[in-house]
């Protein structure tokens, strides 16, 4: 039989039963007899939500059925299937209400209609996703054990389980504890009871979603987007069940069944699966539900308080040292189908097999997948490993990528900490902190030395290289959007950073990739998208959209900003800049001081004195706060000629940035060893004339440039 015929027949049957029940009731009680479910202000809620009309007596039931009849088109179109599905649920609700005329028909374990009070109690955790979703299970599972296992699997994830039909008897047989309070809610035996589940969904939409009764489109949209529900229907299926299922699918609730024969399957909506043990996973995936992971399942304590803990050699059970023996940490993006969530595997010996106090290699490959996951987030996740692994009591971690060092204390080892627990930590934290983009996460811990070496060279190195290449190829020109960052507005109220690939935040802590990830993870947070619209001056890096953004996010304090000039509307600074550069008029360039530098500069000001000129979200032409890494950027005061303007910086800072600075100078101006042309405190820490003499001797390019002022 075709799906059309099954649904239409099922719909007709349910309708006929409802009609018969209403007619019989009218014959017995008369048309004016009041009907309703106990303790609800929403009458027949499914019908009310769909139509905006409250059914309160048998006469209105009859009118309701007449309306439902108009919603049962029989053209062979998908739309008719959906409409008939909803009509089936509405007819079922009318059938159910006739049962309540002489009091609550549900006795024993079955509970029938849910009261408004229960609904509100259920609604709050549903809306905040403490209850990840509602599972509606219909008919008997192939065996009692499978029924128990399935229900338990949903229950242990915090889901609310509604039961209709044979499965209730199966759980009863197994003495399984059921009831509203344990989130296993047996409704009743007849398939028409499914109407009570629909009623719950409809009331949640009206109470929590502010859906106006009768707003069909809004209701469908709310269910589709917000109400997380799915149906598990056990075979053999029948027409009425499938017709109800069509209604569920219309609302966006996927149906999973083990009846492989009766109906054709519909991708993502009607899924056929013979193995009941796979129902849980398939259902959650089909409805796109992520179960929140909050517990870190390890035998030692886990808290940020342990981050600074140092494990001394004498206290250590085993050490992994990437500087001596191949080790690494790597996050890789995979397709959803390629990995299995929460699969944690240890390849190689467990910690017990390592000699006490020995030095070894270890590697973590964390594979993540998600609809919103991007390979650009990989380094953002990886950088957190350090803090996470350190969070475990008795574990010390330093470094990143393939330069890591980990120590496990004797105490942690004795408490039962093993290699697999690294996997548990990484799994729980990635799923917990990055749930917005990670749907699945799988961790492999390698302790096999040969594998560590092979993977380091074949996989990790290649990934790191590729990533570095991506980073260096990211330019302000080849991305579409920049990001604002207002993380530090708490103490610098009018400051706004605009973060670009070539200009990281002035604190040095927020790169363009970080900002991008922050925006994905917290869409209403500190980092917002700024598009490049309305070019004003390419050289200055001035756009209408940047001006609008700083105006908006500085609450009107700033009007204009340029990206590449320190003279014309320069970017403001909060107070957390890594470095400050300021004009050195004598040599026509700029001097830079970093926060750690305590001495005097040729500008006649120390870092704190410069900071007082520059901070506080105020535009001070001629002064600019910036991150260390910005010094090697091609965009460093590009409007005024770029890095060739740098005439002085502390030696320590110069050592840090020399490589990148030299490479950029070579590329832009063809100058070799540019860093050596830049003065430092060993040349002079305060005398502009001495600096000028040094620059002249070195042939520094700034001396030949146009005047800055």
């Amino acid at each position: 039989m075709l799906l059309f015929d099954i649904v239409f027949n099922g719909n007709d049957k349910m309708y006929a039963e409802a009609e018969e029940a209403v007619n019989a009731a009218i014959a017995k009680y008369g048309e004016e007899k009041a009907v309703g479910f106990p303790e609800t202000a929403y009458a027949l809620a499914a019908y009310y939500a769909e139509t905006g009309d409250k059914i309160t007596n048998l006469k209105e039931c009859k009118a309701g059925l007449e309306y439902i009849k108009t919603q049962m088109p029989r053209e062979r179109r998908l739309d008719s299937v959906f409409k008939s599905g909803v009509a089936t649920a509405l007819a079922a609700e009318i059938l159910e209400v006739t049962k309540y005329i002489e009091g609550d028909p549900y006795e024993g374990i079955s509970e029938g209609a849910m009261t408004d009070a229960q609904l509100r109690e259920l609604g709050v955790p549903l809306v905040v996703y403490d209850i990840p979703c509602v599972a509606l299970i219909i008919h008997a599972a192939p065996s009692v054990q499978e029924a128990v296992d399935l229900v338990k699997s949903y229950q242990s994830q915090g889901n609310f389980v509604c039961l209709v039909g044979g499965i209730i008897d199966q759980l009863k047989e197994a003495n399984y504890n059921m009831g509203f309070n344990v989130r296993v809610y047996p409704i009743g035996d007849n398939i028409s009871c499914a109407a009570h589940a629909v009623s719950v969904a409809s009331r949640v939409a009206m109470v929590f979603g502010n859906i106006t009764p009768g707003d069909k489109v809004g209701l469908q949209k709310y269910h589709f987007e917000r109400f997380r529900c799915f149906v598990n229907a056990f075979g053999p299926l029948d027409e009425k069940t499938v017709a109800c299922g069509a209604g569920a699918i219309y609302y966006g609730f996927p149906v999973i069944t083990n009846d492989m024969e009766y109906t054709p399957s519909v991708p993502k909506s009607l899924i056929k699966l013979a193995d009941v043990s796979k129902f849980n996973k398939a259902s959650l995936e089909a409805r796109n539900i992520k179960i929140k992971v909050t517990n870190v399942d390890i035998p030692v304590a886990f808290a940020t308080a342990f981050e600074g803990e140092i494990i001394r050699r004498g206290d250590m059970q085993v050490e992994f040292d990437g500087s001596r023996i191949d080790s690494f940490e790597l996050v890789q993006t995979k397709e959803l189908t390629e990995i299995e969530d929460h699969k944690i595997e240890v390849v190689g010996p467990e910690l017990d097999e390592f000699e006490q106090g020995s030095k070894n290699g270890i590697a973590f490959i964390v594979e993540v997948a998600g609809k919103k996951m991007q390979p650009d987030f990989e380094p953002v996740f990886e950088r957190k490993f350090h803090a996470w692994i350190n969070g475990a009591e008795g574990i010390m971690h330093t470094g990143q990528r393939d330069m890591i060092r980990i120590r496990v204390s004797k105490d942690a080892f004795e408490a039962g900490f093993r290699a697999k627990h690294f996997g548990e930590i990484l799994y729980a934290k990635i799923k917990g902190e990055f749930e917005a983009v990670v749907d699945k996460c799988q961790v492999t811990v390698y302790t096999d030395q040969a594998e560590c070496s092979r993977l380091r060279h074949e996989v990790a190195q290649a990934s790191f290289d590729k990533r570095d290449e991506r980073l260096s190829s990211l330019t302000d020109e080849n991305v579409d959007v920049f990001y604002t960052c207002i993380l530090c507005q708490a103490f610098s109220p009018s400051h706004v950073c605009i973060v670009t690939p070539e200009r990281l935040g002035l604190c040095g802590a927020v790169s363009w990739l970080d900002a991008k990830a922050t925006h994905e993870l917290e869409p209403d947070g500190a980092c917002q998208v700024v598009e490049k619209v309305g070019l004003i001056d390419e050289n200055l890096g001035a756009y209408e959209s940047f001006n609008e953004a700083v105006h908006k996010y500085s609450m009107g304090a700033l009007e204009r900003i340029t990206m590449y000039s320190i003279m014309v509307d320069p970017m403001t600074s909060c107070g957390c800049f890594e470095c400050i550069c300021g004009i050195e008029p004598f040599s026509n360039g700029v001097a830079i001081a970093n926060r750690e530098y305590a001495g005097m500069t040729p500008l006649g000001m120390t870092f704190p004195e410069l900071a007082s000129m520059t901070g506080g979200g105020v535009q001070t032409p001629g002064f600019m706060g910036h991150g260390k890494h910005f010094i090697g950027s091609k965009k460093f005061m590009a409007a005024e000629g770029g890095i060739q303007r740098i005439v002085w910086m502390p030696k320590e800072l110069k050592d840090v940035v020399a490589d990148r600075l030299n490479a950029t100078a070579k590329e832009l101006y063809g100058i070799d060893n540019f860093a050596d042309m830049i003065g430092d405190e060993t040349v002079t820490d305060s005398d502009p004339e001495a600096l000028f003499a040094f620059l002249t001797e070195k042939g520094h390019p700034a001396l030949g440039l146009d005047p800055l002022m």
Binding site: R120, E121, G123, V124, P125, V127, V128, Y129, D130, V207, F208, G209, N210, I486, Q489, A490, P493, D524, G525, A526, K552, M555, G556
Partner: protein, 313 residues
């Protein structure tokens, strides 16, 4: 040169939020002028003064003790507080629920709330949580249920638990939601945005942007309120147009200026007077900076601030 008055006109407006029912209901906000700038335009709803009581009973401050004399229950205190000169609403703090303090069970606290609701009827009620985010998740859900129909304001929806508090108070039981952040305009804004996204009607949200005792970093409070009111009015930022409520008493009575005994600090004078002073100074400054309601506990502070409002608006 003659004085030429130029009223500062804004196209934007602070939301009006009603607490309580019927004749006794109060409205916060609704104006489109800066705080207390009645010379620029009308302020239909003058700022309001709330009286704080707690589930822990009467506090050991002579003036407070004397006022509540004879009250046998928290509900009696609530009734009495509602009759205080200058009071516009009653604030019930459930700090006894804090797991790090008395750790009273949720059921006991909900029972108290129910009694208070019965005692106050339509009179406007504001409920504060235990101060503990996790406890509040459970507590405020039940409290919201107990307050159904009262149009009360349920405070203490923070970034960590706004979903639960917002969903129960704002969605399930149709109450007002107090969005609490820590003296930072962006945090306040973000909380309003996400609470609204949850489905809570923005006209049912009141902000508690945080507070400090005068002399304890209070400048941050002033500047944050200033910026919020400016953004709301001059930039028409509808994510910051919620009225502001500020609990003053908690901070005012927990600093050394109000706690040090007279024996220890004879030159400072009686402790109670100092506490009242801290409360009045804090409340007056909050109202000038942008609060639409302040929460106090001493009868003398309540009367003084009420008088000040009356004179100014």
């Amino acid at each position: 040169m003659p004085f030429n008055q130029k009223p500062e006109k804004f196209a934007a407006k602070i939301n009006t939020v009603t607490i309580g029912n019927g004749d006794k209901a109060i409205a916060l906000g609704g104006e489109s002028v800066l705080p207390l700038y009645t010379f620029d335009g009308p302020i239909d709803n003058a700022p309001k003064v709330g009286v704080e009581i707690t589930d822990l009973g009467v506090e050991d401050i002579p003036g407070v003790k004397a006022y509540y004399e004879g009250c046998g229950s928290v509900a009696d205190m609530a009734k009495k507080a509602s009759e205080m000169e200058g009071a516009d609403f009653v604030v019930l703090s459930l700090k006894g629920g804090d797991p790090n303090g008395e750790d009273k069970p949720t059921e006991d606290l909900v029972a108290i709330v129910k009694e208070v609701v019965a005692a106050l009827g339509d009179y406007p009620l504001v409920v504060e949580g235990s101060g503990n985010v996790e406890k509040d998740n459970e507590l405020l859900t039940k409290v919201s249920e107990a307050c159904q129909g009262t149009n009360a304001l349920i405070m203490s929806a923070k970034e960590e638990n706004y979903k639960t508090v917002g969903a129960s108070a704002g969605l399930a039981y149709g109450l007002n939601v107090g969005a609490e952040s820590a003296v930072d305009i962006n945090l306040a804004k973000q909380l309003n945005v996400i609470t609204t996204k949850l489905g809570v009607n923005p006209e049912k949200i009141v902000m508690n942007i945080g507070n400090a005792a005068v002399g304890y970093g209070y400048e941050y409070v002033v500047s944050t309120m200033d910026r919020i009111r400016n953004a709301a009015l001059s930039q028409n930022d509808d994510t910051l147009q919620m009225p502001i409520i500020t609990p003053v008493s908690v901070d005012a009575w927990s600093v050394k200026e109000s706690m040090a005994s007279e024996e220890d600090m004879p030159e400072w004078g009686p402790a109670e007077e100092r506490g009242i002073g801290m409360e009045i100074m804090g409340a007056a400054a909050d109202l000038v900076s942008g609060s639409h309601a302040v929460i106090l506990k001493h009868p003398q502070s309540v009367a003084t601030i009420a008088k000040m409002i009356k004179e100014l608006v």
